[in-house]
C-alpha cells in the first residue's frame, strides 16, 4: 500500500490548503460566538464577514481539488472516497458559517449565567472539528494513525453532546418563558450539530481507510 497518497501528485498542497480553511473557519466561529456573548458587536460582525468569505474561498478550493482529482489517473481508485470526505467536510464549515449567521439574524438573549457554558460548548465543538481534520490528514499520509484519531473525534463529540445536554437541562429548568427556552435550545442544538457532522465525516473516513487496507 502506498502510504502517502498525495506525494508527487498535483494534489499535494491543495487538499492541505482546503483543510487549513476548515481549521481557520473553526477558530473564526469560536471567536465570533465569544464576541457575540460579550456584546462586542463590531468585532462579531467582522468575524461573521470573514467566515462568510472564507466559506466562499473554501468552495472555490473544493472545485480545484475536484477538478484535479478527476484528471489524476493515479488516484482513480480512491477518487470517490476522497471526494466524499472533502465534500462532507465542507458541510462542517458550512454549518459553522450558518450558525454564526443565525446569531446575527436572531440575536438570541443568552442568559448571563450560561454565556460561559455556550463558549465552552463552542470550544468543544471546535476541538472536535480540529480532530476530524487531523484524522483526514492522517488518511493521506499515515493511514495507520487514522483509527486512533477517529476515536479522539468520537470522544470529543461525546463531550460536546454532554455539554449541550447540560445547557439544555439548565435552560428548561429555569424560570424564563417557554419560547425563550426554545430559542436557547435551538442555538445549543445547532452548535452540537457541527460535531455530529464531524462524526459523520469520520464514519466515511473509517470505511475509506479500511478500503485502503483491503
Amino acid at each position: 500500500m502506498k502510504l502517502d497518497l498525495l506525494k508527487n501528485t498535483d494534489l499535494e498542497g491543495d487538499i492541505d490548503i482546503y483543510l487549513d480553511m476548515i481549521i481557520r473557519g473553526g477558530l473564526l466561529f469560536c471567536q465570533g460566538v465569544k464576541f457575540y456573548l460579550e456584546g462586542r458587536e463590531d468585532e462579531f460582525n467582522t468575524r461573521l464577514d470573514i467566515l462568510a468569505k472564507l466559506e466562499n474561498k473554501a468552495d472555490a478550493q473544493l472545485n480545484i481539488v475536484e477538478g484535479k482529482l478527476f484528471n489524476n489517473e493515479g488516484m482513480r481508485e480512491w477518487r470517490g472516497d476522497i471526494l466524499g470526505l472533502i465534500e462532507n467536510s465542507d458541510e462542517v464549515l458550512d454549518r459553522m458559517n450558518q450558525t454564526l449567521k443565525q446569531f446575527s439574524v436572531e440575536m438570541p438573549a443568552i442568559l448571563p449565567e450560561l454565556t460561559g457554558s455556550y463558549q465552552g460548548l463552542c470550544q468543544d465543538a471546535i476541538s472536535t472539528v480540529e480532530a476530524m481534520v487531523a484524522a483526514i490528514r492522517a488518511y493521506f499520509r499515515k493511514p495507520n494513525l487514522v483509527r486512533g484519531k477517529i476515536e479522539e473525534v468520537i470522544e470529543l463529540r461525546k463531550t460536546t453532546v454532554r455539554a449541550a445536554d447540560w445547557i439544555k437541562r439548565k435552560v428548561f429548568r429555569s424560570d424564563i418563558d417557554l419560547d425563550h427556552k426554545f430559542h436557547l435550545r435551538y442555538f445549543a442544538h445547532h452548535i452540537e450539530e457541527i460535531v455530529w457532522q464531524a462524526e459523520r465525516v469520520c464514519d466515511r473516513l473509517a470505511i475509506a481507510t479500511i478500503k485502503r487496507y483491503s
Binding site: 437541562r169 428548561f172 473509517a206 479500511i210 478500503k211
Partner: protein, 214 residues
C-alpha cells in the same frame, strides 16, 4: 443461517447482535414514553440509561461490522447495500435515544387528555422499528418474507402519521399558550419521525432485495 454470508459466521453473529440491540432499543423507547407520561421521571431515566447503553453498543457493533464487511470475503456486490442498511438502521436507534433524551431534558407539559394518544404513538413507532428489524433479518435469511415485513412497516408508518396528525390537531385547538402547543407538536413530530425513518430504511431494503433477485 444468513444465506448471504455462508462463510463468515462471525459477521452473521455481529449483524444478528446488532439487530437484536435495535429491537431492544425499541422496547426501551416504548417503555420510556409510557413512564414519562405516567409521571415517572425516574423510571424514564432508567429507560434512557438502557437505551443509551444499547445505542453505544450498536455504534460499536456497526463499526465492527463495517470492518468485517471490507476485510472478510463476501459477495462484494452486496457489501454497499449491507453497509447502507446497517448505517441507516443505527440512525433509527439514535433517533429513539435522542427522543427519550429530549423528554428528559425538556420535561414537556403534555396535556393530560393527550397522554393516551402519545403512548399509542410511541407504541406504533416502536412497532414500525420492530417490523423493520424483521424485514432486515428476512433479507439475510429468506428473501420471500421481505415484502410482507416491509408492508407492515408501511402500515405502521401511516398509522403513526394519522395519530400524530390527530394529536397536533387536538393540541392546536386547546386553550393553551402557543408555545405550549408548539412544544407538544415538537414531541409528537419526533416520535412520528422514527417511523418515517424506519420506512426509509425499508425503501433501501426494497432496492437491495430487488438487486439480489437480479
Amino acid at each position: 443461517m444468513f444465506l448471504i454470508f455462508k462463510k463468515t459466521k462471525s459477521l452473521e453473529n455481529q449483524i444478528e447482535e446488532f439487530l437484536a440491540t435495535v429491537e431492544k432499543g425499541a422496547l426501551s423507547f416504548q417503555a420510556g414514553i409510557k413512564c414519562y407520561l405516567s409521571g415517572g421521571e425516574e423510571k424514564l431515566n432508567v429507560c434512557l440509561e438502557e437505551i443509551s447503553a444499547l445505542e453505544g453498543k450498536a455504534d460499536d457493533l456497526r463499526r465492527e461490522i463495517e470492518t468485517s464487511l471490507y476485510t472478510e470475503t463476501l459477495i462484494p456486490e452486496s457489501r454497499g447495500d449491507v453497509l447502507g442498511l446497517i448505517e441507516s438502521t443505527d440512525h433509527v436507534l439514535n433517533l429513539m435515544e435522542e427522543t427519550l433524551q429530549q423528554f428528559s431534558v425538556e420535561i414537556p407539559e403534555i396535556a393530560e387528555e393527550l397522554h393516551g394518544l402519545y403512548i399509542e404513538l410511541g407504541n406504533i413507532s416502536a412497532a414500525a422499528v420492530t417490523a423493520m428489524v424483521k424485514a432486515i433479518r428476512s433479507y439475510f435469511r429468506d428473501l420471500q418474507e421481505v415484502r410482507d415485513n416491509i408492508n407492515k412497516v408501511i402500515f405502521y408508518e401511516k398509522e403513526a402519521d394519522r395519530l400524530a396528525d390527530r394529536i397536533k390537531r387536538r393540541a392546536f385547538r386547546m386553550e393553551l399558550k402557543l408555545c405550549n402547543k408548539i412544544h407538544m407538536r415538537y414531541f409528537a413530530y419526533h416520535i412520528e419521525y422514527i417511523s418515517d425513518m424506519a420506512e426509509n430504511v425499508c425503501d433501501r431494503l426494497a432496492i437491495a432485495t430487488i438487486k439480489r433477485y437480479m
